[in-house]
Symmetry: D2
Subunit: 402 residues, 4 copies
């Protein structure tokens, strides 16, 4: 059986997560590094026909006017990540990917993101329909140019402010009509990318808290086109720990009184989140984990602060105040010191491989078995990491089952 | 159906854990407190015929010459636990339990424990066989005096030094013979208590790292007598967190490089563990969790220090150094501030209720479904807390299945 | 020489700090506790004629309709502070102090505080001048009733929002005129209390970030009346540590890149600070320490969150990111777990004793030698705790020198 | 006035601290880095005739058979320190220094260090006198070869086990005689190096807890030869914080109940300290700080563990349990994450400059004004960092005063 060639289409293709995924993929292709951090390399998946590293071809959209190699080298300097020899060997790969990156859209993304965009991108005056057309056509050309069997579109762009979705139609036929007008659609770029991809039959994965494919009408579109999607908001650090620790309190019948989390970091993502609107999307996504796991709502506080010197190193302090037997108050604190892009990038590669495999096996609609990768998994009730991981394990045993 | 009356026989009956369990049980009987911290009060068990608080009668063995109420009031002062009104209402209960407490044994328990014992206990010159006889007879009298349907014996005494068990016979018939001699048996008190209880058909639970019922020959004895047992070493704090967090690293394919844990506390348990021999038992029990869950052995260090001012407040700092994608080193630290006796006592009550229920349902031998309560669960492979909890869930659904 | 009798007049007399100071003073009078936490009991001051515990008489103003003993018992329950025997012995003292507490003023204190006030206090329709008259007369009656040699007025009330002070006159003669009008003066209650006290020759100490005696015109008033004052914002926890640690970085030529502080607590003070206006005063006071000590301004972030379950236990996490030799980034984190009222109350007693002593020795204007007690010491440049403490040491050696 | 040329003679010249100092000095000479981390670059010293970077020439002794550039590159890989461009520019400097490094001595250094030594060094069979002669002659040849005005000898070698010094003579004339015999002198290499340097008039600085120049007889030798010395044990991290924080507790009359410190790191220094004998020297040096500052001795615990993965990153967790007003227990914890060699190396360069300057100004005997650099400053009572720093400030104002 000939190997299938899979496109990896990154939205926000020169951001920290994308740049790390691209550099890491280069290192994997050249055999320069091991597979630590890649979930899809667990023995659990060894029997699945996942695409190999050399079967993946990268392209994407980007709104900023920057160079991929500059971005990677800046991360290297500021955050002390990537070994120098690794960087030296990836130069030609960056050049190659650079050619496959097209200008993105800033429709309804809010001022904090808009101001990052190049003059060219800001000058675009497109209707939602035109955005969908252009984006879709970019992806399809890419697929044809490289003779790809499938393209998995992954949103790793900056977090948009919340979209008011209550008034939006629940059916695709209705939603589609709203794309035509000039100014009326509240759909942000993340949703238009999703529509563009799914409408042409490509899977879409939303690694951010932005709207993406979360609307029921967009899920319907995916099913109509026989393709699949999942989101939202990759679970890489503090929230991962929450989804792991909260079940312990529940199982031990310890009452959580309050759970406070304070996050600091200094990359571009943090800078955008410094805007109150964009921050609201992120905090909403981080702050709904604990209550459902516990079965009651303790007081929770999540804060995120842009601290420039931290670069890509997200440091989170969580203070969990709980009550044990005879109402005795106790506490546990943790400090997480993780490098955000380095945590996210392997999961992006995992999601591409698993999604491509599921699509090939006939999956349609939202991929609930991927819940453990997300803070707010679409279509999945449980926030308990281990219950979510059990979905992944079950799927791996029978990928056609989804 | 008439309620069954269950004895709770505590070894180390005036130590912090026992005193807290006795006081807590009093509070539960009088309806002074809620059920926070009691696993057996989770909805999971609501259909099971667990003994009610008023069905439990407490007695035990103790080697020290102290008064129960003094011990509780000292904990109140030093560790700021128990509300004053609660204490005021438990006085008569302590007096009642006090009458049911018999002198224990210090055979082979090591110098650190021996020196805590009363002159009376130290003056006893018994052979192992005599200890077993006396202990068993104490428990049986207690059962008869109170017309009990069953007695669950729980070891919450100080940690003994490790026992060399390699040379001990694997079969009960052989082991029994070694009890006769005067000085030859290396069996420590914890094992003799286990033998005494099981030989008369009573279940035995070992909440400490001491030997207890861990020998194959003792397990055989339990099966021969149609009774059950479990151990060892209650999982209340730092190790609980280890068994919860380690699976996260495994599932995310993050490589743990080192896991360092440093524990400080100042109660009697800590004082005994300040002795190198006794400490060795404890550390061995705490330090074998992470490797099996991960599937490889990172460098681990566990230390325990007696810090008098901390009283019953066990504070643990853990530093986990791990490696993510592209070999990027990251870390997570946690600080656990838990009150040891208040964490352990409800689990002791849980174990009594669950064990009594299982015994009634016909369970024989070691109760593997209780694994989640222990650091080193006898007869269970997995150290993953959530896999252990799944055993408990399965049993709750069908208690006769064990 | 006859002992001088000194009044302790507390603004916010039933708040946590005041209630703790009153209860602590009772315990000191009865010899129930040692002097831990009292700076004025250091050997440094042993030669000074400080008032003894039995020379102090307490009264104050309060805007809420609560009882002192209820407040103390609530702190006991929620925050697990004060021993029960101590409380039992202070009942008559609380009754006595209760009689000396008069209704306060809520003029210009902002909505968050206003809504805490009793109907009686809210119904008062006084001009600033009337407030000053009433307050001053309350204090003077108290002094006469108890035949006091001096009264030290201490503000331990909730934090007011910032007052715009740029337009206010710099001279007392001018400022005094602004008190007459009805609605025109922006002076908040804290400043009116200060004016009332100083105008009658009593010293005033501002333990909060509110305006208090900080205006130059009010300082002039103090000097005109031959009395003294000091403020603002008692330095009890996180900021104390900042003023201690920042000099270390300066002396070792380590470059602080960012200093992030996150505070959580749940008492009434925290509840008032949950209001953005009031929070702003507090954060401004906490956030100007590090830059002046270092000689350059790193990025700093200070946040405060109301977390109800924490009660009086203020927990602060600080993350200090710094750069060493060859631009190597390093960090230090600390977690402070202090009981706010128990840290503040002894300093209030210290300030009363030291201020009374200085006043007697002829001090006029702001008492710069008390700088080490405050986050924002009036009239003192240095934020370095040890330089501030050196001022105290120098004064103790020669109290007439100020 | 012609610039004075100063030799920097490093004992343990290829260890982490030395290698970092050498690399950092290279970077400073080439103007590649700023002066962060260098105390001698504070404005405080701007008027002093300190030697410039280009006036310093490096040599030293080393017992291992390794290459300097290999050592630096290994640190770069394991601990992620030094920028790659920096390393690329220092190659020729390493080669140059490499030529100036002579074989050291392992006399009485204990097994843990001995086993690190090259076959050549281990094969040496020298009497103490012969060691002193060879070492002294090496240093002097170096001075002559480079036409140096002075040579400051700095011990940055691994920590030796404690030396029993009670029986050693207090006078140099007596001690000198003990060098003659073959096996009788207990003096370890660190003391012989000190004697060798001082006997020829060169200053000696002991940056380690080893014996070095601590004996009264050796101090007498320094005075006899008109030279100076100081030690011991550079204060770079956890102990620095102790000497900064403990005064805060003292000044606030807060009672420290216990102070626990747990250190983990993984460089060669840590590996040697994994030996119980060598560890004892270090812990003794770290554990005598707090008591003298407080004026009473709380329970203290200091532990150090070799954790390989940490490399040069020393992480220390300290838990300080203290008591405030009304005996309320509170706590503060800190986590220090510092890179050991990067913290130590600039202090080594500082000590060379300041010592050379003091020697030129006529200083004799131990240099107490350098106390703030050391954990156990010879001849200085106070452990309070700020009191120690005041000694440095006073000296800087009048360097001839010492």
């Amino acid at each position: 059986m000939a190997r299938r060639r899979i496109g990896v289409w990154l939205l926000g293709a020169k951001g920290g997560v994308a740049a790390t995924a691209i550099t890491g993929l280069c290192a994997l292709k050249k055999g320069l590094v091991g597979t630590t951090g890649l979930v899809s390399e667990l023995p659990l998946f060894s029997q699945l026909p996942l695409p190999g590293w050399n079967d993946l071809v990268v392209g994407g959209h980007e709104i900023r006017d920057v160079s991929l190699s500059d971005e990677v080298r800046r991360m290297h300097e500021i955050s002390r990540v990537f070994d120098t020899p690794l960087l030296d060997q990836c130069d030609s790969q960056w050049q190659q990917v650079e050619k496959e990156i097209q200008p993105g859209s800033v429709l309804n993304v809010g001022g904090a993101i808009e101001q990052l965009a190049s003059a060219e991108v800001r000058a675009l005056r497109e209707s939602p329909r035109e955005v969908v057309e252009r984006i879709g056509s970019d992806i399809q050309s890419f697929a044809e140019r490289h003779d790809l069997d499938d393209v998995v579109v992954v949103n790793v762009a900056s977090t948009e402010p919340p979209t008011p979705t209550e008034m939006l139609p629940k059916r695709w036929a209705e939603l589609e009509k709203t794309l035509e007008g000039d100014n009326e659609s509240p759909l942000p770029a993340s949703a238009l990318y999703a529509i563009a991809a799914l409408d042409r039959g490509y899977p879409y994965v939303n690694f951010t808290p932005s709207l993406g494919s979360a609307l029921p009408a967009v899920d319907e579109l995916a099913r109509l086109r026989g393709t699949c999607h999942m989101g939202r908001d990759g679970k890489t650090g503090e929230t991962l720990l929450k989804s792991v620790l909260a079940p312990m309190f529940a199982h031990r019948h310890l009452e959580v009184l309050s759970w406070v989390g304070h996050n600091i970091f200094g990359n571009l993502d943090a800078q955008v989140l410094d805007d109150p609107g964009n921050k609201q999307s992120k905090i909403a996504s981080k702050d709904h984990i604990v209550g459902p796991i516990l079965g009651y709502q303790p007081q929770t506080r999540v804060s995120i602060e842009y601290v420039q010197s931290m670069g890509d190193w997200k440091t989170a302090w969580d203070h969990i105040h709980f009550r044990g037997f005879l109402d005795t108050p106790m506490s546990v604190q943790f400090t997480w010191q993780g490098c955000d892009s380095l945590l996210a990038a392997p999961l992006v590669l995992d999601l591409v491989r698993l999604t491509a495999c599921a699509h090939q096996a006939g999956a349609k609609g939202s991929l609930s078995f991927l819940a453990s990768f997300f803070k707010s998994p679409q279509g999945v009730e449980t926030s308990n990491f281990f219950e979510q991981f059990a979905l992944l394990t079950a799927w791996a045993a029978d990928p056609g089952s989804h």
